[in-house]
């Protein structure tokens, strides 16, 4: 998995690419998000558009990241969920936990609200 972080105002946008699966990307995801939290970043938007595969381990890390950010008083939201990842979140009812957006400007605007 590759992760690129860019800033848009006070929101850190994390563009993920590739697989978030056990032994390949799951721990890396946690490290990237924890790194941002340690730097005091509270608003994080994860762009999933180029994530090709996710498994239960990757989903678990995503949930862990959500909890870490929320516990620090921040907001972690998801952008551009591929349909199959949407399905994986839906069957475990996690889709109700995350705020998910299809448009980056729309997602960014919600942090200001």
């Amino acid at each position: 998995m590759k992760a690129n972080v860019r800033e848009a105002g006070d929101v850190s946008i994390v563009d993920l690419k590739g697989k978030i699966t056990i032994g390949s990307g799951d721990v890396q995801l946690r490290e990237v998000i924890n790194g941002l939290v340690d730097k005091g970043k509270k608003n994080i938007l994860i762009n999933m558009e180029e994530v090709t595969t996710i498994d239960s381990s990757g989903i678990g890390e995503l949930v862990g990241c959500y909890t870490s950010v929320t516990n620090k008083g921040g907001k972690l939201k998801l952008l551009h969920l591929p349909p199959k990842i949407n399905d994986v979140l839906t069957v475990t009812q996690l889709i109700t936990v995350f705020d998910v957006y299809d448009s980056e400007p729309e997602a960014l605007a919600t942090y200001a609200a």
Binding site: I22, G23, D55, S56, S57, I59, G60, G64, V88, T92
Partner: protein, 145 residues
């Protein structure tokens, strides 16, 4: 076949399962989800079964009989009690970072069975009826047209 307890071998097993399905007109959607179930079962066996012990092996058999794909995975670990696994949909478990693998297997396959193996280890058997998957895909296609 027998695999070492490394996560990299999950990709190899998925590739071989994909080869087994070639020419059987399995809908892409079905193929995707059953390969995910295979991934989850192997990850479970490697991580929780063999605890990534390099000395322990994962035993894998895959076959298609009468349109039924059957995947049999055996680890050399201590085993576990499937009924003791938490329900990931329960509100108190929803934000846990683990415990969804078996749920995904059961969601994406027709049948999932666990059994302790004499002499140690746990065996999981995943079954998917490819014929009904094809029929279901045809019905969906028919509704679209």
């Amino acid at each position: 076949m027998s695999l070492s307890s490394r996560f990299e071998n999950i990709e190899l097993a998925q590739h071989l399962c994909g080869k087994l399905l070639e020419g059987r007109e399995v809908p892409e959607e079905t193929r995707h989800w059953l390969l995910m179930a295979l991934r989850e079962a192997l990850a479970n066996a490697i991580k929780h079964g063999n605890r990534q012990d390099a000395a322990k092996r994962i035993h894998l058999e895959m076959d298609v009989v009468d349109e039924n794909l059957q995947i049999r995975i055996r680890d050399e670990g201590e085993g576990f009690e499937p009924s003791q696994v938490d329900d990931p949909l329960a509100p108190e478990n929803r934000l846990k970072t683990s415990g969804r693998g078996i749920f995904y297997m059961k969601t994406f396959m027709d049948d999932v069975r666990f059994q302790r193996v004499e002499g140690g280890g746990m065996e999981i058997v995943l079954t998917k009826n490819l014929g009904s998957a094809k029929e279901s895909a045809k019905e969906k296609e028919g509704k679209r047209t």
